[in-house]
Structures are given as structure tokens and as C-alpha cells.
């Protein structure tokens, strides 16, 4: 089937306004937030599960590569159509279908923006916990595909801990529900498997999410340190004290500088790191714990630690963290965000290695990271037009991931393998591990046409 006929058939399914074929349109779907690029043959914007099912059936019969796309914020090339074919853009399927407070669930379509859902449920006194930094633009469908994290994972877990049920369009167009509003449905935990599968097993068309009561109280603290080690040691000491904060976020000096150059929240430019600590839950006992945390900060040589008195002060403490990526983006034309994750106590060691790598390849690296769960985000800053620099950046990135794995960590905490880290999977997996993954993939997609080329590296020598 040629592309013209393919587009015609898709128009019959989704309507003529919702199939994009022009060079310009297709180019707009050729990139995401990674450095990868590839142009799809056609883009379709379905409006219902039925339409997605028909599109999938068509792709299945014709063996045309197909992949789902939300807002395209993927950081590892997961939404890049490397083998061409059909991009299914879920922007029209963005309805919050139901907020069911008695059952503590929300049922949504995959194109719903994460923050939109969170805003809606908060009006009713509830929260949907996973809060990736991109929540203003990222979609629930994308969060499910990548098992997104965010700052609250230490206490509340990742996306997979909050997904109860999924409606999925399988390879041949069959629509199934797995899981649901009730917990503990018998059988294999397919929803658990779909979450984090990077869109390689099927297309999610509806999701039932778990809601939790919004906490009665939130207390936010900001601590400023002369060395990164002191900050990282504070994090470990807080947890050793038996306190699990909702958030432990850190930024180092290069990132603080970028923030001050752009949004100006008043960080001292001679300090080495800032740590944001947030407690949530019932107010009883929380003042004492906040005091205890501030003592721990002092024991770990904090220069200054302050507690937000009200929401306005809290927002100010957060402004720098939330604006960090954007600020770095303004200071330098491009940055590559690594996503290595390590056991929390290994943070100081790995951060030192990151600094060495920065020197070795002569590329500036800023660190902004989820200290509580050991998820680093070294931002390697560069100018994409400088080809030599780009090469060094990619080498530095690989070295950083290797350093993470060497201390018992992994290559991706929340961004996924996608295209960008296919090579680095060999740091954590042997051929057997990958073979098992290939079996899983085959059970869902024996023809390898659903988001092909992602996550699972090709066998080293193919017969």
C-alpha cells in the first residue's frame, strides 16, 4: 500500500481533517525532546477507541509501523517514528471521562494533560500522585508508556503504582480492558506490564487512575550548602531518622546560576547546592519533624535553612526547581538530560564522577536531581551546531550512565530507553535478560510493527 492510499484509508476511519500528510505537518512529528529525528509517512488524530482499533487493524494487515504519541516530551526518542509509518497522535482523545470519588478513581483518555487532571481532582480534595516535571504538557498516555516519575516518588512511588486499569488496543485491533476499578483481579498483571513498556505492546486508549486524599498539611524547607556532599548526607540522615519526606530535590551551583540569570529566586551564587525538603500528611507531629530535619541540616553543615511560612513562600522555594530545566535551556542553546539512577547513598560518589566526566570531555554539566530516590539529572550543556562538541556530549552521557550502573544503579529512572539508550542497555542487561524481553514483546506483537526499534536492542548477531 503506498502512502497515498494509506492516507485515504485513514481518512475513511478518522475523517479527512484528521489525517496529516504534508511535508510540514510530518516534519512537526519527526522530533521529540531528545536529539533524535525521523519523519513519519502519515499522522492520524483519532477521536475514539473504535477509530484507534480500526487504525491498528489496518497497520496490522499491511504491516505498517505504528506508534502512539502524546505531547512529544519524550527525552529518549521514544516517540520518534524511526521506521516511518503511522503516528497516532492522541491530542483529540483528551477527555476526563469520570472522576469517581466513592471509588477513588479517575477514568481518562490518554491525551489528557497530567496537570489538567491533577487540577480537576484537587478541586474535590484529591490528588493523582505522579507529577513528572513536564506535567504541564505531558499526557497521561505518555506517562503510562514511560512509567513517569517526578519529585514525589520516594514516598508515593511511580506511575505504575497508581494505574488500576487500562483499555488497550492490541496488535490486531482487538480492544481489551485489563484491571479496573476493583483491585486484585485474577490473572497476570498486564496493566503492570503495560506501564513503562514505552508504547511497544499496544495502544492505551483509556486508563483508570488511583486517587488519594490530598494531604492536610505540607511543609516545605530550603537548605543551602557549601558542598554537595553535605546536602547528599543530609538526605541520607533524614531517612535514617525514620522520616520519609514527600520530596527531596537538589540543585548544584551551575543550575542555581542558570536559575539566577533567568528567573531570579535569590539563590546565593557562591553556594554549592540547594536542597528542597517537603513533608506532607497529617499536621500532628509535623512541626517536631520539621524541627528535627532542620537540626539534621545543621549537623550536616548547612549554611542556611528556612521553612516556608505560607503557600506564597512555598511557591517561591519551588520556583527555582520547577524553572531549572527552562533556565538551563536559556543559558545554553541545547542540553542533554541524562537519567541515570543510583541507590541514594551513592549520590556523592556519582556526582563527583559526573564532575570528572565534565572536565574530561570539556562540557559544562549542571545537576538537578531527585535526591530522595537517587535519580540524577545531569544536564550536559552544549551547542548542537558544534558537531565536535555534540560528539563529546554523547560520550560524556554514556560515561555518566556507566558510572551510575557501576555503583548499583540503572540507566534510566523515568525517561525510558527509547532509541537513545539502546546501546547502554548492555551496561545492565546480559543477552538472556533481553531475550526474555523479546519473548514478552513477541507475545503482544510478533510482527514487530508497534513502535519498532525502541527499548529492546537487536540481537548482536542475527541468524
Amino acid at each position: 500500500m503506498d502512502n497515498k492510499e494509506l492516507a485515504e484509508r485513514l481518512r475513511e476511519i478518522a475523517g479527512k481533517d484528521y489525517v496529516l500528510t504534508s511535508d510540514m505537518d510530518r516534519m512537526l512529528y519527526s522530533y521529540d525532546a531528545s536529539l533524535e529525528k525521523a519523519i513519519p509517512d502519515v499522522v492520524v488524530l483519532p477521536n475514539s477507541t473504535e477509530e484507534v482499533s480500526k487504525i491498528m487493524s489496518l497497520a496490522y494487515r499491511e504491516k505498517i509501523p505504528i506508534l502512539g504519541r502524546g505531547s512529544g516530551t519524550n527525552l529518549t526518542g521514544g516517540s520518534i517514528p524511526v521506521k516511518g509509518g503511522i503516528v497516532v497522535h492522541f491530542s483529540r482523545m483528551n477527555r476526563i471521562l469520570e472522576i469517581d470519588i466513592p471509588n477513588r478513581t479517575a477514568t481518562v483518555e490518554p491525551g489528557v494533560i497530567t496537570l489538567d487532571l491533577q487540577t480537576e481532582v484537587l478541586k474535590k480534595g484529591f490528588i493523582y500522585q505522579p507529577d513528572p516535571a513536564s506535567q504541564k504538557v505531558s499526557t497521561i498516555g505518555g506517562n503510562i508508556a514511560e512509567n513517569s516519575g517526578g519529585p514525589h516518588c520516594l514516598k508515593y512511588g511511580v506511575t505504575s503504582n497508581h494505574i488500576l486499569g487500562l483499555e488497550v488496543v492490541l496488535n490486531d485491533g482487538t480492544v481489551i480492558w485489563t484491571g479496573g476499578k476493583s483491585r486484585d483481579n485474577p490473572g497476570y498483571d498486564l496493566a503492570g506490564l503495560f506501564v513503562g513498556s514505552e508504547g511497544t505492546l499496544g495502544l492505551v486508549t483509556k486508563a483508570i487512575l488511583k486517587l488519594e486524599r490530598a494531604p492536610e498539611t505540607i511543609k516545605t524547607m530550603l537548605a543551602i550548602y557549601e558542598t554537595i556532599e553535605d546536602g547528599a548526607n543530609t538526605v541520607s540522615a533524614i531517612i535514617a531518622e525514620g522520616i520519609v519526606p514527600a520530596t527531596l530535590e537538589m540543585m548544584d551551583n551551575p543550575v542555581m546560576r542558570a536559575v539566577e540569570e533567568t528567573i531570579k529566586v535569590g539563590y546565593p551564587l557562591d553556594a554549592a547546592a540547594v536542597l528542597i525538603i517537603e513533608l506532607d500528611g497529617m499536621p500532628e507531629g509535623m512541626d517536631e519533624k520539621a524541627q528535627k530535619i532542620m537540626e539534621i541540616c545543621k549537623q550536616n553543615n548547612v549554611r542556611e535553612v528556612k521553612l516556608a511560612k505560607d503557600d506564597a513562600e512555598r511557591d517561591l522555594l519551588w520556583a527555582g526547581r520547577k524553572g531549572a530545566f527552562g533556565a538551563v535551556g536559556q543559558v545554553r542553546p541545547s542540553y542533554l538530560c541524562c537519567d541515570g539512577t543510583v541507590p541514594r547513598t551513592k549520590l556523592p560518589e556519582v556526582l563527583n564522577k559526573v564532575m570528572d566526566i565534565s572536565k574530561k570531555y570539556d562540557v559544562p554539566i549542571g545537576n538537578v536531581f531527585h535526591a530522595g530516590d537517587g535519580n540524577l539529572h545531569p544536564l550536559i550543556m552544549f551547542d548542537e551546531r558544534n558537531k565536535d562538541e555534540l560528539k563529546r556530549v554523547l560520550k560524556a552521557s554514556t560515561d555518566i550512565l556507566k558510572a551510575c550502573v557501576d555503583v548499583g544503579g540503572t540507566i534510566s529512572g523515568e525517561h525510558g530507553v527509547g532509541l537513545e539508550k539502546l546501546k547502554e542497555t548492555s551496561f545492565i542487561f546480559c543477552e538472556n535478560d533481553i531475550e526474555f524481553e523479546r519473548h514478552i514483546k513477541k507475545a503482544f506483537d510478533p510482527d514487530d510493527f508497534i513502535n519498532p526499534g525502541k527499548m529492546i536492542p537487536e540481537p548482536v548477531c542475527e541468524q
Binding site: T174, T178, P186, G187, Y188, G281, T345, T410, A443, M455
Partner: protein, 481 residues
């Protein structure tokens, strides 16, 4: 048979002579639903499991994995059985990293040994153990001074169950309300696939999106996709204060109102159980001498900062008394632990007393729990079978135990009819009914896994893809997988 003698020799060459049992007594004690294996094998590590499974795969031998055997009565009888592979020698704690709040253990490590290892020196432990000595070997460990944490799950049989068995059955307890399920605690797994190949996934970090989340697929798969050999979990610091509140009521409507009111507050109790009097009485609780159980008991667990526990306990007690609670009692610290251990051991205790015991787990939409509970009470009193009923209010789960002293044709028929009605009710309420224990003789009359769901087609594809010759626990799981 001559052929199998050769197989036994091969097994001996893998695990050693003393770790392959073929005596009739051994085969009888390791029978699964009265089906005896031809041999029982005790591998010492993942490598040996891999070799045993590889052999089984080559010779088409059916395997059922086994931990301490506490949940062997789950599932359909196996279609065939050659080898029972026991994990009891695989009892090493591979990496106890309390400062990172993770632990990696082999499948045969007992749950109690994990909790004992993680307890503080002041004997604060997530189980009221007589002694804190752990039976498991410890290989590599981080600093012992960082301690005082726990694996936040409270499954049944917590005194004997192995971690492998708990995960393979995704076995849960009342405190899932606060802490979630075993599948939420598992971060990584190393398993032996049905081909014998050793495969790993996940790791030591809470966040990990590097490959499929195989741990989730394996959790609750009842040994049908392979044998989980090593697992990594996330831990939590032990709560500062632990306490339990008991409230008794004469009517279900009052008992359920309390549970409902708690659910509508912003309080964060660890568990809210609504049980009938028979359930409470069977546990034989000695720590609340003045407490009068009545027809229904609402039990609320608190595990939090001291001040938060004090507030929750006083507010919920007031709710109970306002609704006419007949009696109330508080259990602190050690007596709290003893109480929840009794809850965990209830099924085992009843199984010793009632040889025809049938246990079922009903799941449904959270908001329909009162309706389901009432329906069950009515069906069961009509059927004239004694029963214990325990709802995890707020989690959408209800545990039912039919107290059948000795199973005969007639009681089995009556139980099957009642269970079928309750299954239909659960399905209407968006869930299902899984029978977790039944005498082997009764299983033919019971739908062990309830109704098949539409996603079964994918489950079958997975099973066929991963276990091509169907040697792993054949037939025991959902839909005869």
C-alpha cells in the same frame, strides 16, 4: 520408570544426592492437590534452579515451585506433575541495604526473617517474634547500624511464608490500605524462565524504566511463567508508633457506618477491618480482656507519628461511640503486633481446625463493599454454613472462610452454590471471586479463579510464548494456564 531413574541421576548431579527426594513419604508430603510428584528437588541457588529447569524443559517434566507450602492449596489441581522444586535452601539475604531502604533476598528466605533482620536492636520489629535471630544466611550487608525498617506488607501465614511464595501469589493483608501491595514493593527480580534461562529485570532503585517491568508480570503469576529466584524490595522506616483500636457493634449498619465515616475523613489509618463476631472470636485475642466482641468488630490500625496516632485514635473512637459502639479497646505496640499476627495466622489456624475449610477472596469496587458484605451474609445464612467474613474496608476486598468441619458431597454442593452466587454478585460489582483454599476433592466443583476476564487472550499468549512446552505449574492458574 527406568527412564525416570536416569532423570533422578541427572538431578542428583545438579543438586547433590541428599537434595533430591524420591521416597514415598517425601512425595506424599509434597503432593499438590493429592497429585504426587516423581521427585522433590532442593536447589541451593539460582544456577542450580536454572539447570534443573533446563533439564525439565529438555525432558518435558512438569514443575511446581514451592516455598514453605502455606499456599499450595491455591489454584486448580495441576494437569500433570513431575518435579516439585523447593526453595527452602535458597535462604540467603543477598544485599541488606537499609540506608538505601532496599533489600535483595533469595526466594526461600522467610518473611519473618526479613522483618527480624530489619528490626532495631531494641526489639522493635514488624512482627512480635519470640526471638529476633534470623534463620537466613546473610551474604553482603551494608552498615548494620542503619536499621529499624521493615518490608511494608502483612500477608497471611507471615510466620512461615517465604518471600517467593508471597510474591508469586501477590499475597496481601489488611494494611495494604496504607502501604499498597507486594507488587508495588518489588523493584527487581532474577528469575529462571521455563527454558532454564536466567533473566533479570529491574534493580535497586525506586525509579527504573529500563526494560519491561517483569517484576510486575511475575508477581501473582503462581509459578506459571518461571521461578522467581531473587527479588529486590523497597523498605520503609518502622513507624514511630503502632496501635490498634477495636470497636464492637450489634448491627452491621452501625459497624459499616464507622468504616464509611473513617473513609470520608483525611485520616490515614493503616487498616480498617470489618469482621463478623465469629472471625474475631476465632482469633482468641488475649490482649483485650474486657472487650466484648458482639456481632461485628471494626478494627482500625494506626502506624504513624505518635501525635498522628493519638489524634486518629481519639477521633475514630469518638465516631464509634457516637454510633453506639458496644465496647472498645486499644492495643499498643507489642499487643498491636500480636493482634495483627493473629489476623495473619487466622487462615492457617482455621485450616487445622476445619479440614473442609474453603477460603475465598472477593474483590469489587470499593464503594460497593457494604452491599457485597450484606449479600454474602444473607447467602451464607441461607446455606446454613458457618462462616468468617472479614472486609478490608477501603480496599475493596473481602475475605470469606467457610468453616466446614469435614467435606462431604452435600456440604461441598451447598458451598459451591453459595460461592457461585457470591461470585455473580462480585462480578456485578466490578470484581471477581477467587477461591484461595479448598480441599482437593472439592476443587472439581468450584471455579477456583472466578470468571475469566476479556484480557485472558493476552494472558494465554504470554503463557504460550514464555512457556512453550507448558511445564511450569501447568493448569494451576487462571483459565487453566
Amino acid at each position: 520408570m527406568a527412564q525416570f531413574t536416569e532423570t533422578v541421576e541427572k538431578l542428583v548431579s545438579i543438586v547433590g544426592k541428599e537434595h533430591v527426594k524420591t521416597e514415598p513419604d517425601d512425595l506424599a508430603t509434597h503432593a499438590v492437590d493429592n497429585l504426587k510428584p516423581k521427585a522433590v528437588v532442593f536447589p541451593k541457588d539460582t544456577q542450580q534452579v536454572s539447570k534443573v529447569v533446563e533439564l525439565a524443559s529438555r525432558e518435558n517434566l512438569a514443575i511446581v515451585p514451592r516455598g514453605s507450602g502455606s499456599k499450595m492449596s491455591m489454584g486448580n489441581p495441576p494437569k500433570r506433575l513431575d518435579l516439585v522444586v523447593c526453595t527452602s535452601r535458597m535462604n540467603h539475604m543477598i544485599d541488606v541495604d537499609t540506608s538505601n531502604l532496599t533489600i535483595t533476598v533469595e526466594a526461600g528466605v522467610k518473611f519473618r526473617d526479613i522483618q527480624a533482620r530489619l528490626a532495631t536492636e531494641e526489639d522493635r520489629c514488624y512482627l512480635p517474634l519470640g526471638d529476633l535471630t534470623s534463620q537466613a544466611d546473610e551474604a553482603i550487608c551494608s552498615d548494620r547500624s542503619h536499621s529499624g525498617c521493615f518490608l511494608p506488607i502483612d500477608p497471611p501465614f507471615s510466620d512461615i511464608a517465604t518471600i517467593g511464595g508471597i510474591i508469586a501469589t501477590n499475597s496481601t493483608g489488611p494494611r495494604r490500605l496504607l502501604y499498597n501491595l507486594p507488587r508495588d514493593m518489588i523493584l527487581g527480580v532474577r528469575l529462571v524462565a521455563p527454558s532454564g534461562l536466567i533473566a533479570g529485570a529491574g534493580g535497586k532503585t525506586v525509579k527504573n524504566v529500563s526494560g519491561y517491568d517483569t517484576s510486575k508480570l511475575m508477581a501473582g503469576s503462581l509459578g506459571t511463567l518461571g521461578i522467581m529466584c531473587e527479588m529486590t524490595f523497597r523498605l520503609l522506616p518502622l513507624p514511630e508508633k503502632m496501635a490498634t483500636l477495636l470497636l464492637s457493634f450489634e448491627s452491621f449498619s452501625d459497624a459499616s457506618k464507622v468504616a464509611k465515616q473513617i473513609f470520608d475523613t483525611t485520616l490515614l489509618p493503616a487498616a480498617v477491618e470489618v469482621m463478623n463476631g465469629a472471625t474475631f472470636t476465632a482469633m482468641n485475642i488475649k490482649d483485650a480482656p474486657g472487650f466484648e466482641p458482639g456481632e461485628y468488630v471494626v478494627v482500625v490500625a494506626f502506624e504513624a507519628f505518635q501525635e498522628a496516632v493519638d489524634r486518629m485514635r481519639s477521633e475514630i473512637k469518638k465516631m464509634g461511640l457516637d454510633l453506639g459502639a458496644k465496647s472498645d479497646a486499644s492495643l499498643d505496640d507489642a499487643s498491636h503486633q500480636r493482634f495483627w499476627l493473629a489476623v495473619s495466622e487466622l487462615e492457617g489456624m482455621l485450616a487445622r481446625k476445619f479440614s473442609g475449610l474453603v477460603c475465598a477472596k472477593l474483590n469489587y469496587r470499593i464503594s460497593e463493599w457494604e452491599d457485597v458484605y450484606n449479600f454474602c451474609q444473607k447467602v451464607l445464612s441461607d446455606s446454613k454454613i458457618d462462616y468468617s467474613l472479614q472486609a478490608h474496608a477501603g480496599s475493596g476486598i473481602c475475605l470469606l472462610r467457610l468453616l466446614i468441619a469435614e467435606s462431604d458431597g452435600e456440604t461441598t454442593e451447598a458451598a459451591a452454590r453459595a460461592l457461585e452466587k457470591m461470585l455473580q454478585k462480585s462480578v456485578e460489582a466490578g470484581g471477581n471471586l477467587v477461591i484461595q483454599r479448598a480441599p482437593a476433592s472439592a476443587k472439581g466443583k468450584l471455579r477456583m479463579w472466578g470468571e475469566l476476564s476479556p484480557d485472558f487472550i493476552v494472558m494465554r499468549r504470554l503463557k504460550e510464548q514464555l512457556d512453550t512446552s507448558g511445564i511450569m505449574s501447568p493448569g494451576r492458574f487462571v483459565g487453566g494456564l
